[in-house]
Amino acid sequence: MELIQYIAFAVIKIALLLFILLTAVAYIVLMERKVIARMQNRWGPNRVGPFGLLQPLADGIKFILKEDIIPDSVYKPLYIAAPMIALILSLISISIIPFGGDWYVAGYHIPLQTAAFWTGSGIQDINIGLLIILGITSLGVYGVALSGWSSNSKYSLLGSLRASAQLISYELALGLSLVGVLLLAGSLSLRQIVDSQAGSLLHWHFFGGLQFVAFFIYIMAAYAETNRIPFDLPEAETELVAGYHTEYSAMKFAMFFMAEYCNMVTVACLATLLFFGGWHSPLEGLHLPVPPIWLIISPLFWFFVKVFFFIFVYIWIRGTLPRFRYDQLMSFGWKFLLPLSIANIVVTSLVLALRS
């Protein structure tokens, strides 16, 4: 009985979250276009709706109605499967991410996380949540590799080769940069990692745990994992046209795009959860007088402020930095980030051992 109730809540949360995520993705694209435009002294989209706010809707309709070209030389089953793999993988992670504590609604405790339930005294979430997200990230290579190979076009193949080699190289640094946080938190459950940062600003792993080196490794590796500037070599338009999705059109092209932005959201959520205290307010510990309603909204508010900030940084960096050269990119990953992340682990564990 309880199981059915739990599943029912899960279904509602999944539907709601997917809707929010896909809408957010559409509006992040708009925000990116707007912000980049302002940075380059342009206006950006402003024709469809007030301030161009209906632009994502128009784009969506256009993507669905455009001709769905499947070139003759492609290997059809995988050509169709590749964008689906990319999108499916990017949509899974959000179910593991916690957004706050729990809401007490109509006699039920509802955790603000899809994969979590109320045990009667506390919230039980997945014990290896972080590892599952890492696992999903590691599977992301297939969407890229298969799309390039099945397209049977030179640009696609070169782009996908580059992208796959880049993804697997930076995955190492990504995984190792998280070890510092794990040392401090002592758990793989995302909820417990956040709980270990409760208190104030100084308890966040970024400040209190002195994990800023780990954070910068994480952010750089994550940018490479999501194929964003300055690591967007796979789609370097000056050399490779559009990289691995050169041969894709209509909705299939849009699916790669959506996957990229969903992954950006996941990266921003994970950065918030692991390094910046999740839904904990930076003003915690000051005991400011706040209305009781604020206590309910506050976790979600701070979580989304932080996530929004990281997404803005993504766009900001896109407007600022040029692209790496490919050999620089590979040696940056292997010769700089990898040794640095190992050094971070050694130093963090040494400090922890001496200080305990």
């Binding site: 009985m1 669905i64 499916i88 997945i126 190979w149 995955e171 041969e247």
Partner: protein, 150 residues
């Protein structure tokens, strides 16, 4: 309502559901696009893109051994990274767990440092391999052939 403890794997059911829903969303998008988009066949349009020129040859050629090299090294360092994760998770509990075996108290220096030395030996040995491949030039992407073996 009495709260029976649910089995641990119940936690994963929402993730499973999410995967199913994500498959439906992705499948729906492909299907919708195939149904609603117009289809007008033309031979030139259906060629692989080569900057508007007539395509030459097959795209699937053999590629540099570098890419396999990266994939192989990735597996090995991934195995190393995976071992660091359980170590990191129990690092703070290890002194208490290891102290009886060392004949020391959980607050003693030897017990506190034990976990650190354990991993330092492990990382040290793997790093020997890392510097070996570095010196061999396996990490140089566009090195000239005189300098390296690749």
């Amino acid at each position: 309502m009495p709260n029976q403890p649910l089995p641990y794997y119940v936690n994963y059911l929402p993730v499973l559901l999410q995967i199913v829903v994500a498959c439906l969303v992705a499948g729906g998008m492909v299907a919708l696009s195939a149904l609603l988009g117009k289809h007008r066949y033309s031979r030139t349009k259906m060629q692989a893109y080569e900057c508007g020129m007539v395509g030459t040859g097959d795209a699937r050629q053999r590629f540099s051994v570098k890419f396999y090299m990266v994939a192989m090294l990735f597996i090995l360092f991934d195995v190393e990274a995976i071992f660091l994760i359980p170590w990191a998770v129990i690092y703070r509990k290890l002194p208490a767990a290891i102290a009886p075996a060392l004949g020391a108290g959980p607050r003693d220096f030897s017990a506190r440092m034990f976990g650190f030395w354990e991993m330092l030996v492990y990382i040290g040995i793997v790093l020997v391999g890392f510097f070996y491949i570095w010196k061999k030039g396996a990490l140089d992407w566009n090195a000239t052939t005189e300098k390296t073996d690749f």
